[in-house]
Amino acid sequence: MFEANTLAVVFVALMGLSILLYAILDGYDLGVGILLPLKQEDNSDTMIASIGPFWDANETWLVLAIGLLLIAFPAAHSYIFKELYLPTAVLLISLVLRGVAFDFRAKAAFSHKPTWNKVFKIGSLLASMSQGYMLGMYVMGFESTFAAYSFSLLSALGVAAAYTYIGACWLIMKTEGDLQVQAVAWAKKSGLICFIGILAVSVINPIINPNVFDRWFETPNMLLLLPLPLICFGLFVYSFFVLKKLPAENDKGCWIPFTAASTIFLLCFIGLGFSFFPYIVPNKLTIWEAASAPESLSFILWGAIVVVPVIFSYTAFSYRVFWGKVQELRYH
């Protein structure tokens, strides 16, 4: 049996891990969707092929994250999703559309393929933006003010840019030839927008949230936290220098932008988590107030301790199987 307070922390950590993995993993495949060119047929097939074996498992992290919120913090789940009812509906419908478009574009009558490509692209974009919007509203404590809506729209663009960036980095790693050259150009552009977005959110967030401000600029915290934005900034600068030289001979360093982007995601996530912990609904509900019964949480935790490492190992196996440059996607 685990202690109730510890359980709440363990579960919020597990949920945070799922959200982070979701943002990185589904982030790159949503990004590839946003980048899908509607004209160059050949490239669009290769791009889709690069995410084909993974997108389904990537999306499962969202189901786990939402599932953990529902299971471990049911009060927070209903509070958050009642506030975000319509953006959630937009998110779900976009995810449905892009998920099925992935299959329909390959299987439906050939004349319908351009339509499903469009659905895939728009669905990916709307799903990313609605996630950004929901994140913005969450950060703003679900206020119905002009400031909150503006911030959420900014956040919507920021998240879409971040996903596009990591999607472009994924393509640099997984493709070759003219598509790789194209992906480098995409990464440069979206990386810049993403950088401006992160900067804007980091400046605006403490200004409009006094609690966040206090937390970041108290003396011991400030020194401890300073490395976060510094490393983040450093990684962006480093990535830009690397991107300038890509694609390099023998494809050296094609994995660097993706790794850097994932690390940036991780740092931003830690920063965000730090701004609000232990609140699960900002300024309203802490993880301890919202947690389920300890006997239920213990029951899942035992399972999670056994199962999560297994999930990691077969996910790693799947990535190893499809390691290297993407080949034509074929059912065998």
Binding site: D45, A49, G52, P53, F54, D56, A57, E59, T60, V63, L64, I66, G67, L68, L70, I71, A72, P74, A75, H77, S78, I80, F81, K82, Y85, L92, I93, L95, V96, L97, G99, V100, D103, F104, A106, K107, A108, A109, F110, K113, S292, A293, S296, F299, I300, G303, A304, V308, I311, Y314, T315, F317, S318, V321, F322, E328, L329, R330, Y331, H332
Partner: protein
């Protein structure tokens, strides 16, 4: 203007009805695929690989629709039914959690290898991946049916301040109706997939496809259906007896029995009248209901009068039940007719093929009808004796729910048209492909993402 409660109910029914259509195919279809794959490994006969390749694409498409329509479910509990999790979240949460942890990741993780990895892993690992996907889909239904059955026949919990707390997890999972509902659902999936395979294979044969694969899959599907259909009738009967024991008001609604009676007739048709608490135009077999339910011609069956104000609406339960049973017997009859004809004449006559094509999606109708019987039959409860549906509903504005409902309805209509159209397009395309050559065994055939182009 409809209120939030009724809109939420329609939305949930819409979402879950759409969702179940795809798992009910993929649960059993994955085992069919494993069978095709294993037979290929055993015999090295390319026809098995041909069957596998065709059906794995339909599997992938159905699976994708199942996954994406399932994601909406995990959000809806919170958005539309907040009191559900607040009251029984301590029970429902872990069961849903185990479904995600043990089943979803397993399916999704190995699906990529199963679909796209045959040339990247050894044949053994590929077969194993196919098995893991099949096992994962079945495990997923295990957890979700454990939760659903617990909502019908809750056990192993105690109420503290209006909130359910787990006491005995084994009693919660293996609650009284679970073994019956789980078996009933798995066989329903087997029948749905069998009739889908038989129907599409029949379509190909009717279109003049003279290859071995559709004939082989048709034969296998008919054989499985011929075995499963009578088994399902038996399991359904046991399930009904279990329901009589735990939810007698549901059985009273299914049988249209308004007043407790001895020697109750089995109604083949009637028009239940909730106002007058009686049936019109009854056609029934005397004493049969009593015989089936109590194994005594004069056995007493409790009527709806014993559950005044606490029983489900009769009309939808009564008719759904008849649609399910009627279809079940039709499937039994068609499967046996087809299988016997195949056995005697080695091929099916055009009218049997046409009947099978007509019944391609009969499993869907029967499955939905069956779920309507059991779910509407639980009303007015969401969790029997613990939480009523109306107490669980959200308080968000009805216009928001109305908006999302309309969006879902449009979306699902479009997707359903696209799905059906695509399946028949794929079947039509398969008709035109040349019969496989021998070197296909050693040299993998390119069926690219742009199938049909090559």
């Amino acid at each position: 203007m409809l209120d939030t409660l009724i809109l939420s109910r329609i939305q949930f029914a819409t979402n879950i009805s759409f969702h179940i259509l795809f798992p009910v195919i993929t649960i059993a279809l994955s085992w069919f695929l494993l069978f095709f794959k294993v037979r290929f490994v055993q015999t090295n006969d390319p026809v098995w690989m041909r069957a596998y390749r065709f059906w794995v694409k339909i599997f992938a498409l159905s699976f994708a629709l199942g996954v994406v329509s399932g994601i909406t479910m995990s959000f809806q509990f919170g958005t539309n039914w907040p009191k559900f999790m607040e009251t029984v979240g301590n029970i429902a949460g872990p069961l849903l959690g185990y479904e995600v942890l043990t089943a979803f990741f397993l399916e999704a993780g190995f699906l990529g290898i199963m679909l796209f990895g045959i040339n990247r892993v050894s044949p053994r690992v590929h077969t194993l991946s196919t098995f893991i996907v099949a096992f994962g889909t079945t495990l997923s239904s295990f957890w979700i049916l454990a939760l659903n059955s617990w909502m019908h026949t809750p056990q192993g919990y105690e109420m503290r301040n209006g909130v359910a707390f787990p006491v005995d997890w084994l009693a919660i999972i293996f609650n009284p109706s679970f073994p019956y509902r789980f078996t009933h659902m798995l066989i329903a999936s087997g029948l749905t997939a069998s009739f889908l395979i038989a129907g599409i294979s029949a379509y190909r044969l009717l279109k003049g496809d003279d290859k071995r694969a559709p004939k082989l899959t048709l034969k296998i599907a008919l054989t499985v259906a011929a075995i499963l259909a009578p088994t399902q009738a038996l399991v359904g009967d046991f399930h009904g007896l279990n329901t009589l024991e735990h939810q007698p008001q549901k059985v009273a609604a299914m049988e249209g029995i308004w007043h407790t009676e001895k020697g109750a007739p089995l109604l083949l048709f009637a028009l239940p009248d909730a106002e007058a608490k009686t049936n019109h135009f009854e056609i029934g077999i005397p004493n049969m209901a009593s015989l089936i339910l109590t194994h005594d011609l004069n056995g007493e069956i409790k009527g709806l009068n014993e559950f005044e104000g606490n029983h489900p609406p009769v009309m939808p339960v009564f008719f759904s039940f008849r649609i399910m049973v009627g279809l079940g017997f039709l499937m039994l009859f068609v499967a046996w007719t087809g299988r016997i004809q195949l056995w005697r004449k080695k091929e099916l006559s055009p009218w049997v093929l046409k009947t099978l094509l007509f019944m391609t999606f009969s499993g869907w109708v029967a499955t939905l009808a069956g779920w309507y019987v059991t779910e509407i039959g639980r009303q007015p409860w969401l969790v029997t004796g613990v939480l009523s549906v109306k107490d669980a509903a959200t308080d968000i504005a009805s216009s928001n729910v109305g908006l999302s409902l309309i969006a879902y309805l449009i979306l699902y209509t479009v997707l359903m048209i696209a799905y059906l159209h695509t399946i028949f397009t794929m079947a039509g395309r398969a008709v035109e492909i040349e019969e496989i050559s021998d070197d296909e065994i050693t040299k993998p055939v390119i069926t690219s993402a742009i199938e049909g182009l090559k």
